[in-house]
């Protein structure tokens, strides 16, 4: 932005803040330095339109109105109570929390927004030390769909997006009345009323592909009061499980450390000339246990249960066969 434009904008803000009367565009042209440079009415009008857009993008609330019924055109002013950040004082530990929060996002867009908030808090007199190296650091990553979905939630507008279910490549277009964006265990979800399914649904943001497009008018979406968004998401993800069975394994000496740290050793056994331990482990999810054990190849063999031994053998056979075919 040119210095001349920045100067004009600051003067415009100061003029609109200091007036109680609405100032018409013509009046603004007459008093705010910089507009006099406009060579024609058209040039002025383009300049003024651009400046108004800039002020709105900065979050400056422009009031539009007329001072009396006899006025022939609209005027502008800025209400101080809408412009100014409220009084705020933060204790050192509260300011430290803010300093940490600003560094939390792993997304340039959100980091920029948080930094913008920090600049304003500092301007309100809050002291945030940026040299303090915290002993704890946390990073939260967001997805590209986060911002458009949040905007839709806040403007109560329905959205349409392409969604891929877990383990599937098929993309289906979904139309959702979004109620909220929820973070649960560092994963982002959007919860709302799925118009296609006519039911409450939750979608993982990382599986949304392409653009999130608003559909319909803002203000259209009615969010029910009695729904707990977090419970809805948390309820549909697995909670801590209890073991369903015990497996007996053979583990080669000095191998399969990852299994050993979860196992109880119960004896010794030599298999095909290789010495090893007999071990027991608790099974929580037998299917993923089969994946995990198969990963260790000849270092971890299943003695029982039979069904686990079979699952592991199936996986290994699939691998051996597939590669041999090449």
């Amino acid at each position: 932005m040119s210095t001349a434009r920045a100067e004009r904008l600051v003067n415009l803000v100061l003029a609109l803040l200091s007036t109680r009367q609405y100032l018409t565009a013509d009046r603004i042209r007459g008093i705010v330095p910089g507009y006099a440079d406009a060579s024609s009415d058209d040039a002025f009008s383009r300049m003024f339109e651009r400046d108004k857009t800039e002020l709105r993008e900065l979050g400056i609330p422009l009031e539009i109105g007329r001072n009396s019924v006899f006025d022939t055109s609209d005027g502008y002013r800025i209400a101080r109570r809408d412009y100014e950040l409220g009084e705020i004082e933060l204790a050192p530990d509260e300011a430290a929390a803010v300093g940490l929060a600003v560094r939390l996002w792993d997304s340039p867009e959100l980091t920029g927004q948080a930094q913008g908030a920090l600049v304003k808090l500092r301007a309100a007199g809050v002291e945030v030390d940026h040299n303090a190296a915290p002993v704890v650091e946390s990073r939260v990553r967001t997805e590209p769909a986060f911002s458009p979905l949040l905007a839709a939630v806040q403007s109560r507008q329905a959205v349409r997006f392409d969604y891929r279910r877990a383990g599937s490549a098929e993309r289906l277009t979904r139309t959702l009345e979004p109620w909220g964006v929820v973070s649960w265990r560092a994963r982002w979800y959007v919860v709302g009323h799925d118009r296609d399914r006519n039911a409450t649904r939750c979608f993982r943001l990382s599986r949304i592909s392409g653009e999130v497009k608003p559909v319909g008018r803002p203000g259209e979406v009615e969010r029910p009061d009695n729904v707990n968004l977090l419970e809805f998401v948390a309820g549909s993800s697995k909670s801590e499980a209890s073991p369903v069975a015990t497996a007996r394994l053979w583990l080669a000496d000095g191998r399969a450390a990852g299994i050993r740290r979860r196992a109880r050793l119960t004896g010794r056994l030599t298999v095909d000339g290789v010495e090893g331990d007999l071990a027991e482990i608790e099974l929580y999810y037998p299917e993923s246990a089969a994946d995990w054990i198969a990963g260790h190849g000849p270092d971890a063999l299943v003695l029982e249960p039979e069904v686990l031994a079979k699952s592991v053998a199936e996986r290994l056979t699939a691998v051996a066969r597939q590669e041999a075919r090449k």
């Binding site: 600051v10 900065l58 929390a97 600049v119 304003k120 704890v136 929820v182 063999l301 290994l316 051996a320």
Partner: protein
């Protein structure tokens, strides 16, 4: 800061200086993340601005003394602009995430900060974002985290028994704790490892045993914090690249691990390129996918995977049948 950020800074500068009479220009520049030279340019610009009339008594007035600056007339710009919806959301959601993160810091202070900012932000208060538990941790890991935090506070060294998943091995190490990190819901201890003589990240859920030692934590000056801006996996350029074709059931691999390239193939399959440091780790991953992933390259990895599967199937036949009833 780019030029588009100049307006927010110009609007914040006068109230900022009003709150800090006689502040050093250098200190103000640091708070705004600009050079002192840029800050002086901003001040010169503001000096030319003021109220209609624009006479000497209408313009913003600043007094410079040595390297310091004081506002003597603010032309009515004495408070910062309120937070935009986006700014309030970015800050408040981050604070809520911190408040929900166990053991990160004094959550009471975080909640007080949230309440104060919400009240100051007024109508810009965000809605529609809920932050739940940002950490996945079981009871054992929570206990480990407690001990690690204790050591960090007391600045003591730790003795840990650690499971290194990439090499599938357990080692005993003495480490000098530096920070506790939470990245993508997983807790890590960042510490100087005396065994590796380097800074290492230890996943809390892979620390099988932890003991606070009497000796002080003394990371050497060369121990610098890890840059986690790109996550905790930092593939080294000299690592090998595996080319895998994932069936639909194995597509989660591309979501879970960092992959460099994804190509959609017919029938919902996905070709990915993935860096790996340790071949035994990559072999375990492919074996565990049980045929849902195929190694296209390198050939020696494909051969290692096939060999391990064949060896396992052969060895199973030698298990005594009496034991597997």
């Amino acid at each position: 800061m780019s030029s588009t950020d100049r307006m927010p800074r110009l609007l914040a500068l006068v109230p900022y200086l009003l709150a800090r009479p006689g502040i050093r220009i250098e200190d103000a520049a640091r708070d705004f993340g600009v050079t002192p030279k840029q800050l002086r340019r901003d001040l010169e610009l503001l000096w030319m601005c003021g109220l209609p009339g624009y006479g000497p008594g209408d313009l913003i007035d600043l007094s410079f003394e040595g390297e310091t600056v004081t506002v003597t007339f603010d032309a009515g710009m004495n408070r910062p602009l309120r937070l935009t919806g986006g700014e309030a959301t970015a800050l408040l959601v981050a604070l809520r995430a911190l408040a929900e993160t166990p053991g990160l810091l004094d959550t009471d202070a975080v909640r007080r900060a949230i309440a104060k900012i919400e009240s100051a932000a007024g109508q810009a208060q965000p809605s529609g974002v809920v932050v739940g538990l940002p950490v996945r941790e079981g009871e054992a890991t929570a206990r480990t985290r407690g001990v690690v935090q204790q050591a960090l506070q007391a600045r003591r060294a730790l003795r840990i028994r650690y499971y290194t998943a990439s090499r599938d091995e357990i080692t005993e190490r003495t480490v000098d704790p530096m920070r506790l990190l939470i990245v993508q819901a997983v807790g890590y201890l960042e510490a100087w490892c005396r065994r590796a003589e380097d800074v290492r990240l230890f996943r809390l859920d892979r620390i099988d045993d932890v003991r606070v030692l009497d000796e002080p934590a003394a990371p050497p000056p060369s121990a610098l914090p890890t840059d986690i801006s790109d996550g905790v996996f930092s593939p080294a350029p000299d690592q090998e690249i595996a080319e895998l074709v994932l069936d639909p059931d194995a597509r989660w691999v591309a979501e879970y691990y960092p992959v460099e390239e994804e190509t959609e193939l017919p029938d919902g399959r996905l070709r990915v390129r993935m860096r790996y440091g340790d071949e035994s780790w990559m072999t375990r991953l492919v074996l565990s996918l049980g045929g849902d992933a195929r190694v296209e390259n390198p050939a020696h990895l494909a051969e290692a995977v096939r060999q391990r599967a064949a060896d396992a199937l052969a060895r199973v036949r030698h298990l005594p049948s009496t034991l597997s009833q």
